[in-house]
């Protein structure tokens, strides 16, 4: 009896707790939340609640409320929905461009980051017009918008130009004096959502966007080792050549001279890819012309990289994190002023070495 007593007590406690437990049927698990500007004071919060098994025609319910505080907004949504809204299954946060340009994203992220029921892998995206419209849109061939968005924002090879920013990534880049945040930028099409561009942030405010191509190079410079396919157009002697390269392996080697006063960087990109499509006059069967194409592609990418760096310099931001190559050797506290100083004054030298692996199974 003495030995059984603890077990018995344990069971007893289990029973007494049972009554208080909330059952899953009473809960609505928010999976996406969209934020828009309502007016100066308030924001418009749209919460999408998927219902796994339901007799209604729609399997997702979407509620919008105007609110000043996020938690208050959730309470307001609960008051409309027939269930209690919880955040344990939150996957996607959408922000309208206007909302992001006004600098409210950082506040929202900090709120969710603090909340331990929200996982840190929640993905973020900026929407060109109203974020609410994306959640309310019905895509005929998709089971529901939430899982579509969730899948769209998961890292995949062909979309690896996108930074796929999670809540942790955003909080990390926002609070680090080195990095500047980048977030995928979505556009709502007629029957789909497209990761059209990439939004750039400076101290919590969205300031500009860059194209997918520029973003792809940015990912390459950040050290991503598999890049999304590249379409390259070369204008050589007035003739236009187009190439499409896939399966690009990337090795980046960046070295700094470690001097903050007169910063210098040598950036070396080594790319390897397979040619999938070619439009032009070269006979790629000939070794010489094949080599020439490689050099031309290298030069083209080099030019693009230099343009990208100049653009970042104009915007005075450092999303690639060049300053980290100076900070890692810097004895003392690194500040944002130092990052700005680096970006403004860094002298850089780019070398690109492109290696064409094959041209497919035909000669």
């Amino acid at each position: 009896m003495k030995r059984i007593l603890p077990i018995f007590l344990l069971l007893l406690v289990g029973c007494s707790e049972q009554g208080k437990q909330r059952s899953v049927e009473d809960l609505a698990m928010a999976s996406s939340i969209a934020f828009d500007m309502s007016d100066e004071e308030e924001m418009r919060m749209t919460v999408s609640l998927p219902y796994p098994s339901t007799e209604s025609q729609e399997n997702t319910q979407t509620y919008s409320v105007d609110t000043q505080l996020i938690q208050e907004g959730l309470v307001k949504v609960s008051a409309q929905a027939d269930k209690m809204v919880i955040l344990n299954q939150l996957r996607t946060l959408l922000f309208s461009e206007e909302f992001a340009r006004n600098g409210h994203v950082a506040e929202v992220i900090e709120h969710f980051y603090r909340n331990s029921t929200v996982g840190n892998n929640v993905r973020l995206a900026i929407v060109k017009e109203r974020a609410e419209d994306v959640l309310r849109a019905s895509f005929l061939d998709k089971p529901n918008t939430d899982s579509y968005l969730n899948d769209l924002l998961q890292p995949k090879l062909h979309t690896s130009f996108s930074p796929f920013t999670t809540m942790h990534d955003f909080q990390y880049t926002e609070t680090s004096p080195i990095f500047y945040s980048t977030v995928p930028y979505l556009e709502l099409k007629e029957d789909s959502v497209e990761i059209a561009r990439v939004a750039l942030f400076d101290t919590g405010k969205m300031i500009d966007t860059i194209s997918r191509r520029e973003s792809s190079l940015m990912q390459a410079l950040k050290g991503l080792d598999k890049l999304s396919p590249l379409a390259i157009t070369i204008h050589e002697d007035g003739e236009k050549e187009q190439v499409h390269i896939e399966l690009i392996e990337n090795k980046v080697n960046i070295k700094s001279n470690r001097q903050v006063a007169s910063p210098q960087l040598s950036i070396e990109l080594r790319l390897q890819g397979a040619l999938y499509e070619y439009k032009g006059n070269k006979d790629l069967g000939k070794e010489k012309e094949y080599k020439r194409l490689e050099t031309e592609i290298s030069q083209r990418i080099k030019k693009d990289v230099e343009e990208l760096i100049e653009k970042m310099r104009e915007l005075e931001i450092d999303p690639i994190g060049f300053s980290e190559y100076f900070r890692m050797y810097y004895d003392g506290k690194w500040t944002e002023e130092l990052t700005e100083q680096i970006i403004k004054s860094v002298a850089y030298e780019v070398t690109v070495d492109f290696n064409l692996l094959n041209t497919g199974t035909l000669k």
Partner: protein, 360 residues
């Protein structure tokens, strides 16, 4: 199971007793505690292990002079019966508050992460039930439990992989760019993670091969330091300095980064499993408190254990105002530092004290 002054602890027992008692709740907050040192914090566990290893030396030396006695008895022998008992009484008070602090720290976390919509009185009661059960088995049962929980829980270190791959190794370049003040603050706040090895002062008489105890204790300390090192290094790679300073439970967020197709919230799983580590820490301390009361009352009784457990349980449930509670618990950790250095003084007293007063 346990009989007084019967030697029951073999080498494995000692290693795991030392290292598992050390890993308590502080590992969860360690990167945050060390944040004054910024990114340089990752090698602090090595420094701490070195200090701890040096501090074990006088402890082992002292107890090996009194092979059959624990610290309570040594106090009485060195300072005379009444002063010694007074000291022991103070020690007991400190240990009780310490156990309460460890339990409460963990419960706060459980409340935040796993049970946000319930009170923690019942879980705490269950926790104490298990705690008393393990402790009543004596030091060997505690040591066995340490070994078991080590193998049950340590595999979750695998989940740090995600944080490591997402992180940036460039943060970890040893720059040593902190001031002496920052070094001091980080050490002051972080060294608490090493406390626990000092309990060897109490279970030393139960060790079979006492001459090897130093080696075994050192091994325990370094296993623990390596676990700390991996965790802190991953945090340094994964977080920005702001996050290290502001995220209260960085390890929780590291587990949060895990992406598995079949398991969504690894952090909740990890935090719940952590109860094993908390149990090993508290059970060893509880055993010491029980031994202390035995020595003060000069009688070994099971009832002492139940009384102590009830006292601690009630102590935790006293609704102190938050600031008083924080103050008490912070002071306790300072006393802990004093206690770790204490054997050094005892060694000196032992040397100065003439041998005639019945000292062996």
């Amino acid at each position: 199971m346990e009989q007084n002054h019967t030697k029951v602890l073999n080498g494995y027992h000692v290693v795991f007793l030392v290292q598992n008692v050390m890993i308590g709740s502080t590992l969860l907050t360690l990167p945050n505690l060390l944040s004054p040192a910024g990114y340089s914090q990752w090698w602090f566990p090595l420094l701490f292990a070195l200090i701890a290893n040096l501090l074990v030396l006088p402890m082992i030396w002292l107890v090996s002079k009194y092979k059959e006695h624990d610290l309570f008895a040594i106090h009485e022998k060195l300072f005379g019966r009444w002063v010694g008992k007074g000291l022991n009484l103070f020690l007991l008070g400190y240990l009780i508050v310490l156990i309460a602090a460890i339990c409460e720290g963990y419960l706060d976390l459980i409340q935040v992460v796993a049970l946000p919509d319930r009170t923690t009185t019942w879980p705490l009661f269950l926790f104490f039930l298990v705690l008393v059960y393990i402790t009543s088995g004596g030091i060997k049962s505690i040591a066995r439990y340490c070994i078991m929980s080590f193998f049950l829980v340590t595999w979750i270190i695998y989940f740090l992989k995600w944080g490591m791959t997402d992180g940036d190794i460039r943060h970890a370049l040893p720059l040593f760019n902190f001031t002496a003040q920052e070094l001091f603050t980080a050490t002051k706040k972080g060294f608490i993670s090493m406390s626990g090895f000092e309990l060897i002062l109490f279970y030393f008489p139960y060790i079979i091969h006492q001459q090897r105890a130093f080696k075994q204790a050192s091994l325990g300390i370094w296993i623990c330091a390596i676990l700390y090192l991996v965790t802190v290094l991953t945090s340094v790679m994964y977080f920005s300095i702001w996050q290290l300073e502001n995220v209260l439970y960085p390890v929780l967020y590291l587990f949060n980064a895990v992406k598995l197709s079949f398991l969504e919230r690894v952090d909740v799983l990890a935090i719940s499993l952590w109860v094993f580590f908390i149990l090993t820490t508290t059970t060893a301390y509880l055993w010491v408190v029980k031994r202390g009361i035995d020595s003060i009352r000069m009688a070994e009784k099971k009832s002492h254990l139940y009384i102590v457990a009830t006292v601690i349980f009630l102590f935790i449930n006293i609704p102190f105002p938050k600031e008083v509670q924080k103050m008490i618990y912070e002071r306790v950790f300072y006393i802990n530092y004093a206690f770790i250095i204490w054997p050094l003084f005892l060694c000196i007293i032992h040397l100065v004290k003439p041998a005639k007063e019945g000292v062996k």
